[in-house]
Symmetry: C2
Subunit: 337 residues, 2 copies
């Protein structure tokens, strides 16, 4: 059987070859109906582009940024970095949020395909196999930032040294004399959460301590998540004397829970956060936290994307930027009990 070419598809779809080419390249001048038929045929035949890309499509001057959730000022720092690089490269940045909703992801992908985007950066959101295949057919490059799950080795991705961050935070607390140290991670499904908690466990084990099951919690990345988890921790028969929160927003919840229970930070409970968002120095007490270079992560992801777009080789498909413990006032020696 001969290799499937555009001509094959065109014949079956009763259109001209250029029309198929247009669908493949996301041009807008194809009727939605026609496009659907052609896309189906392309999938059915498992069409593969020739490896050496043809005269490359220098059409739109866009790149896309998809952030799962724009509401947290977490994403802003990344956005800022991406915007800067896009601006320098003379590319327009299209921003969207998908709020963990599959329908929005599909919609975004659809709009991306019918536009002339050169590539996409996905933050804390992920695509399923079919969606990846669709992008691959179009040879639309994408880069993951803090992907949901471990990305396939051939997908470029950017992250922070979450494991090392979790380790450093916990080690710091151990060094202050704490032995009952709790962890509140973000959603358990997230790669970054798992790495941070793994770092936490590892630090405990390295000191001969054990992570008691009750002391590890998972909660959504916001104040109320932290509040709720910390409440339960404080209600334990043997409450922790220190808490490693997997994000600064979670840490604000821990503060609220401590305050509600009349616990003073750090005298009665030390707290360490993660992210180092810009308000942490002004919290009271100022939050000890693991700094994550979010803006730089955005810059790195955007530069990576540009390299892929320009057909340059990546030195590495995975970049992890260093985290650093920032010690402020919310962590202190364990109180003699």
């Amino acid at each position: 059987m001969p290799r499937c070419t555009l001509a094959t598809i065109a014949r079956e779809a009763n259109v001209s070859v250029p029309t198929v080419s247009k669908v493949l390249n996301g041009h807008s001048d194809v009727a939605a109906h026609t496009r659907a038929i052609i896309e189906r045929l392309l999938t059915e035949h498992g069409y593969q582009r020739p490896r050496s890309p043809r005269r490359s499509n220098r059409r739109g001057e866009f790149i896309d940024l998809v952030i799962n959730d724009l509401d947290s000022n977490w994403g802003l720092a990344i956005l800022t970095g991406v915007e800067q690089v896009a601006e320098e490269a003379g590319l327009t940045l299209a921003v969207s949020a998908v709020h963990n909703r599959a329908s929005l992801t599909r919609r975004w992908l659809q709009s991306l395909l019918s536009r002339a985007s050169q590539g996409a950066i996905l933050v804390l959101s992920d695509l399923d196999e079919a969606q990846r295949a669709e992008l691959a057919r179009r040879t639309l490059p994408f880069v993951l930032v803090d992907g949901v799950s471990a990305p396939p080795p051939d997908v470029p991705s950017v992250g922070a040294t979450n494991f090392a961050g979790g380790f450093a935070a916990t080690e710091h607390l151990i060094g202050l004399g704490h032995t009952r140290i709790a962890a509140i991670g973000g959603p358990e499904s997230l790669l970054c959460t798992r790495a941070r908690v793994a770092g936490y466990r590892s630090a405990l084990e390295a000191s001969g301590l054990r992570a008691h099951r009750d002391l590890v919690r998972y909660a959504p990345f916001h104040h109320d998540g932290g509040l709720d988890a910390a409440r339960r921790l404080f209600a334990l028969a043997e409450p922790p004397t220190a808490i490693f929160a997997g994000s600064d927003h979670l840490a604000t919840g821990v503060y609220s829970a401590a305050r509600a229970r009349g616990l003073r930070i750090p005298e009665q409970c030390s707290v360490v956060g993660f992210d180092d968002l810009n308000f942490t120095p002004w919290m009271a007490p100022a939050l000890t936290t693991v700094r994550q270079p979010l803006r730089e992560m955005g810059v790195a992801a955007a530069r990576m994307l540009l390299r892929v777009i320009n057909g340059e080789r990546l030195d590495s498909h995975r970049i992890e930027l260093a985290t650093a413990l920032v010690i402020r006032e919310s962590s202190g020696p364990r109180a003699p009990h």
Copy 2:
């Protein structure tokens, strides 16, 4: 002689009517040579468009958001609101930052014109006369959010009740017994700053107090701006017992200055901020501030833009959303001195 129509031109140029139409509307898919011929004929015949414009150019599916400075999480809330509306309307949102630089503004405008943007929302940034004219020629609508200067009456704009906010904040402090109340505004050139400070003055006057010159300062909207201004205020022979800061970020600077001088908030100095960003409840003490519905402002601006794009009439060219004083812990009665 019959009136000159596109058909006349088309016949003479040996092209179809749609092709002439495309030249007239600046579409790109006409060869330069053909376009030149047609443009010459159009000029020679003195072609006039009919007065009632036909279905106008529904070109790209974009709208643009230009934020002067993305770095502050101030803009994030607005961005979120705009994104939501754009998504609902099936439009892609292009985001850029211009950092108060004229060159970047020019570049952005250039890219906007060469793209297929349907319109733009400008946040805390402004266009000069020529730039406005350029947009008008293309009939590209735009909406201002918190414009730099008072917008011309025919330009749609969205803001908050800054005057009322400044008034409420100051009245609150007066009610607590303060008489030496300082204000730290943002940059003096900004409309929102002037309105907030005017509200402050007005409240003082309404209570028979006077705004001493030394007690009104202007500083850039960030921590260090507030720190610097507050330092100078505390160094006065008669320092203020309360400070109204024109933004929450400025207020964080006031906190730092107070701490550095050993002043307790609110016992020795009350502080009121402006914006109610998401971290203010976790500051210590929790910041009393004037809430500004930033997200809703983004929504309102985007909806306004859509109406203009669709040729609908606006009920009003100026929308001001209400501010509200949120009393927390950073404001308290004047200490007996």
